[in-house]
C-alpha cells in the first residue's frame, strides 16, 4: 500500500507483537509512520501537493496544488516565495470550489539559485474567516534548504547538552551591556 497516511502503526507494534496469533493474507505495512498528526484548526479546505520535483537551475518546474474543498464558494490562493523562486504567472489565483470536487492548480516556477526552495501558498475562501498555508518544495540543482537567519548559535555545554544561545538585551545594575538591536542582521 503506497503512501498511506492513516496509520497507527508504531503504537500498535508492541500490541501486535503480543498478538502472536494475529495474521492476515499479506504482510502488513512495516514502514514507520506517524501515529497521528493533530493539526491546528483551519478553513474548510484541504491542500496537498505531489512528490517533490527536482529540476536544474533555470529549468521550469510545474508544481501541482491539490485542493479538496468542503464548502461551496470561491477559493483564493496567494502564491509567493522568499528564496529567489520565480513565479510564472499571477501571484493570486482564484478557483471555484463549488461541488466539493477535488481540483488541481498547476503553477510554473523556476530559479537560477541552487538549493531547496518552497512555493508558499496561503489559501482563503471568500466570505469565510481564516486561511490555510502550504509550502510546496522544489529542489533546484544541488544544495540544502535555503533557510532563514537562525536566532542564535548552536553550542554544546560542558555537560554535553545542546543549546541555541540567543542574545539578550541585558542591563547590569541599570546599564545596558548587550543590545542586539544595535547589531541586527538584515533580512535576506
Amino acid at each position: 500500500m503506497n503512501a498511506i497516511r492513516y496509520t497507527i502503526c508504531l503504537l500498535a507494534i508492541a500490541a501486535l507483537a503480543a498478538c502472536a496469533q494475529a495474521n492476515s493474507s499479506t504482510p502488513k505495512m512495516t514502514e514507520p509512520k506517524p501515529t497521528a498528526i493533530y493539526n491546528k484548526p483551519g478553513i474548510p479546505l484541504t491542500l496537498s501537493h505531489g512528490k517533490r520535483l527536482d529540476v536544474a537551475p533555470g529549468d521550469v518546474a510545474t508544481l501541482t496544488l491539490t485542493v479538496t474543498p468542503m464548502v461551496d464558494g470561491v477559493a483564493i490562493f496567494d502564491l509567493a516565495s522568499d528564496t529567489g523562486l520565480v513565479l510564472r504567472g499571477a501571484a493570486n489565483r482564484r478557483m471555484d470550489i463549488s461541488g466539493g470536487v477535488l481540483q488541481t492548480l498547476d503553477v510554473d516556477v523556476s530559479s537560477a539559485i541552487s538549493g531547496r526552495h518552497y512555493l508558499n501558498v496561503v489559501a482563503s475562501i471568500e466570505g469565510i474567516s481564516g486561511t490555510r498555508a502550504l509550502s510546496i518544495p522544489v529542489q533546484v540543482g544541488k544544495g540544502g534548504v535555503i533557510g532563514k537567519s537562525a536566532p542564535g548559535t548552536l553550542s554544546i555545554d560542558a555537560d554535553g547538552g545542546a543549546t541555541i544561545a540567543m542574545p539578550a538585551t541585558e542591563t547590569i545594575d541599570g546599564v545596558v551591556v548587550i543590545d542586539p538591536s544595535q547589531d541586527i542582521q538584515q533580512p535576506r
Binding site: A12, A15, T26, K28, I37, T46, I172
Partner: protein, 573 residues
C-alpha cells in the same frame, strides 16, 4: 478519585535537582520585581534602574548575590485585522524557567528557576566572570508537588534548547542586578530585522500557563516530559521535520516520540505569538499522555463533519485554549508581517451542530468551565470537572471510541448534580442525551443516515454479515462516512477470523478494504494489506468488548484520486 495514568520516569535534562535545592531558599524569597511595564519598540532605550528584586538571605562570605528579572516581548492582537500589532509590544515575565550562571568554561555554577514575576536570585563567587542565561525550559520547583518538564527546542538544530544569554561580566564585590530581555526581532511594522529571540519564550509562557491551569485542579499531577519544537525554518509542508518541513503546527505522535511542532515561517504562517494555537496543540499532548485520545488527527475546521474522535479532540483543544487563556476568542494569525488572521468564538459557533462537530464540543466544554451564563449554559464549574472526567478510569478504559458521548456520560456519573446542565448543553448542540456509545442518536449529518447512524453496528462472531459503505460525500480521511464503526463482544477466549469483501461500487477499479480492531482504544489488529476487494485477518481474542473501524483506503488517503462510494460486507467467524 482513583487515577490511572500511564506514567513513566521523567529524566531531567542536564540539571541536578540538588542544584535547584541549593537555590530553593532564594526562590522562596523571590516575590517582587514585576517586569510588566510596557517597553517601547526598537530602537532600544536604556532600561530604567531595575525594580527591587528578590531579597535573599545574606550570601556567605566571599559570595555576592546576582539577581534580576527575565522577560520577553509579545506583540498584542490587532482586533481590526485579527493579526498582530507590533507597534504595541508587551513585556512579560519569563516564568518558571531554568536560570543558570555560567562560568568562562561554560560550566553551570549555579541554577534556579525564575518565579512567577520572572525574578531570580543566585549566590555566586565574588570577583568572578560569569554570564546569566535563561533556558526555554520549565520544570517543577522543589516546592511543587506536581512534576513537569517542558522544553521549547529547535527541531532544525538537534532539538537544542533555546537559551537567552547575557554577557560574561565580573560579579564584583557587591550584589548585582542583571536583567535579561528577549526581543521579538521585529520593527514596529512587524518586519523581522533581527533575531527572533522572544519566540521560544512566548511559546514557553503559554504552555506554562497551561501547566498552571492543570496544577490548580490537581496539585499532584505528573505531566510526562514533552518538547515543543519551534524553528524559524518550520514551514507548512510535510517532509523532513529536521529541516523544518513540519506540515503545520501540530502535535505529532510517532512511535515513542511525541512532540508539539510549531510553525515559524514569517510572512507565511508563524505561530509563536498565537497563544490559542500553542495551548490547543499542548491540549493534544495532555489528552494523549494523561487521558486518552482516539483521534487520528488530520485537517479539520469548524464546518467540517468530523469523525467523532476528531471532533472530540479538536473541540477539547479549542475549549482548553479559552479556559487556559481566559479568553472566549480563539486567534490564529498569518500572512505578511502576521498582519492577518482569523478568530472564532468558543461560545457560539454553530454552523453544523452535532456529535460530529468540533465547534459543538468546544461550545459544550467551554460552557461547562466558563463563568458566563449564555443561552442554555447554567454551568460555571471551571476546568476541574473536565479534567476529572478525562482522567477517570471509566473514560480512559471505555470499550468504544471516545467521543462527546463517552465524555458526557462520564460527567454525569461523576457529577450527577451537573447532569441537567450538561444535558441542556448537549441538546443545544443537537446531540442526543444518551449513553456513552451514542445509542439512539438521530442527528445525521448527511441526507441519508446510512453510514453515519447508528454510531456503531454490532458484529457478532458467527452471526450475520454486516453490510456497510465507505463514502467520500463529506470529505476525506477523517470525516463521517469515510469509516464504519463496529462493536464486537467476545464471550469466551477464541481466535476470530475477519473477512471484509467488496459487494458494490468501484465497478471499474479495484477497492482496497481495510479494518482495525481496538481494545479500550489500543489498536490490536491492523488489517491493511493492499489486497484488491478483500481483506482477511485473524486474531486470538480474550473475552470483552472490542471496537472496530472499517473503510476503503482511498477515502482516507488525502488527495487520492480514486475516492468514491464503495460498499463492503464484514463477517467474523
Amino acid at each position: 478519585m482513583e487515577r490511572q495514568i500511564n506514567m513513566e520516569v521523567i529524566p531531567m535534562q542536564a540539571i541536578t535537582r540538588s542544584a535547584l535545592l541549593l537555590s530553593a531558599s532564594l526562590m522562596v524569597a523571590c516575590g517582587g520585581g514585576s517586569s510588566s511595564t510596557p517597553t517601547p519598540s526598537p530602537p532600544i532605550v536604556v532600561a530604567p534602574p531595575p525594580a527591587p528584586g528578590p531579597t535573599p538571605s545574606p550570601p556567605p562570605s566571599g559570595k555576592v548575590t546576582v539577581s534580576g528579572n527575565i522577560s520577553y516581548e509579545r506583540p498584542t492582537p490587532n482586533l481590526q485585522t485579527a493579526g498582530l500589532d507590533f507597534s504595541d509590544i508587551q513585556t512579560l515575565p519569563i516564568r518558571g524557567a531554568r536560570l543558570q550562571a555560567i562560568n568562562t568554561s561554560g560550566v553551570v555554577v549555579a541554577e534556579t528557576l525564575t518565579n512567577m514575576a520572572g525574578a531570580y536570585a543566585l549566590d555566586v563567587d565574588a570577583g568572578t566572570s560569569l554570564r546569566i542565561r535563561a533556558l526555554s525550559q520549565t520544570i517543577d520547583g522543589p516546592t511543587d508537588a506536581a512534576d513537569w518538564d517542558l522544553a521549547v527546542v529547535d527541531n532544525t538544530n538537534s532539538n537544542a534548547v533555546y537559551n537567552l544569554q547575557g554577557s560574561l561580566a565580573d560579579t564584583g564585590n557587591a550584589d548585582q542586578t542583571r536583567n535579561l530581555l528577549a526581543r521579538t526581532g521585529a520593527d514596529s511594522s512587524g518586519n523581522y530585522v533581527g533575531p527572533r529571540v522572544a519566540a521560544p519564550f512566548a511559546i514557553l509562557d503559554d504552555t506554562y500557563t497551561a501547566i498552571q491551569t492543570v496544577t490548580a485542579v490537581d496539585p499532584d499531577v505528573i505531566l510526562p516530559e514533552v518538547q515543543l519544537r519551534f524553528s524559524v525554518d518550520n514551514k507548512a509542508t510535510s517532509g523532513n521535520r529536521t529541516i523544518g518541513e513540519i506540515g503545520t503546527s501540530s502535535y505529532v505522535t510517532q512511535g515513542s516520540d511525541r512532540a508539539v511542532y510549531i510553525l515559524g515561517d514569517a510572512g507565511v504562517d508563524t505561530d509563536e505569538f498565537d497563544s490559542s494555537v500553542i495551548v490547543h496543540e499542548w491540549g493534544h499532548y495532555f489528552e494523549d499522555r494523561l487521558s486518552r485520545s482516539d483521534s487520528i488527527g488530520g485537517p479539520h475546521s469548524l464546518r467540517a463533519i468530523l469523525d467523532k474522535r476528531i471532533a472530540l479532540g479538536e473541540g477539547f483543544g479549542n475549549a482548553l485554549s479559552g479556559i487556559v487563556l481566559e479568553d472566549p476568542i480563539y486567534r490564529d494569525t498569518s500572512g505578511v508581517r502576521e498582519s492577518r488572521g482569523f478568530t472564532f468564538s468558543l461560545e457560539n459557533e454553530r454552523q453544523v451542530p452535532g456529535w460530529f462537530s468540533e465547534a459543538s464540543v468546544q461550545n459544550i466544554l467551554y460552557d461547562i468551565a466558563d463563568a458566563e451564563a449564555d443561552a442554555g449554559d447554567t454551568l460555571s464549574e471551571g476546568f476541574g470537572p473536565i479534567y476529572n472526567a478525562l482522567l477517570h478510569p471509566d473514560y480512559v478504559g471505555f470499550d468504544g471510541f471516545v467521543s462527546i458521548f463517552a465524555l458526557a456520560e462520564t460527567f454525569r456519573n461523576l457529577r450527577p448534580e451537573l447532569s441537567a446542565g450538561i444535558d441542556t448543553l448537549l441538546e443545544r448542540e443537537e446531540i442526543a442525551v444518551t449513553d456513552a456509545f451514542g445509542s439512539g442518536e438521530t442527528n445525521s449529518p448527511s441526507e441519508s443516515s446510512a453510514g453515519a447512524l447508528p454510531i456503531y453496528l454490532d458484529l457478532e462472531v458467527g452471526g450475520p454479515a454486516q453490510e456497510f459503505c465507505s463514502r467520500d460525500d463529506l470529505g476525506e480521511y477523517n470525516r463521517v462516512l469515510n469509516r464504519q464503526f463496529f462493536l464486537l463482544e467476545i464471550a469466551s477466549a477464541q481466535t476470530v477470523n475477519f473477512t471484509m469483501t467488496k459487494i458494490s461500487g468501484f465497478e471499474d477499479k479495484r477497492s482496497d478494504p481495510d479494518f482495525f480492531l481496538y481494545r479500550e482504544g489500543r489498536p490490536l489488529l491492523l488489517a491493511q494489506s493492499g489486497d484488491a476487494d478483500t481483506e482477511v485477518a485473524s486474531l486470538a481474542l480474550d473475552p470483552g468488548i472490542y471496537a472496530m473501524e472499517a473503510y476503503e483506503f482511498a477515502n482516507i488517503d488525502i488527495g487520492n484520486a480514486n475516492q468514491g462510494d464503495v460498499c463492503f460486507r464484514l463477517v467474523a467467524r
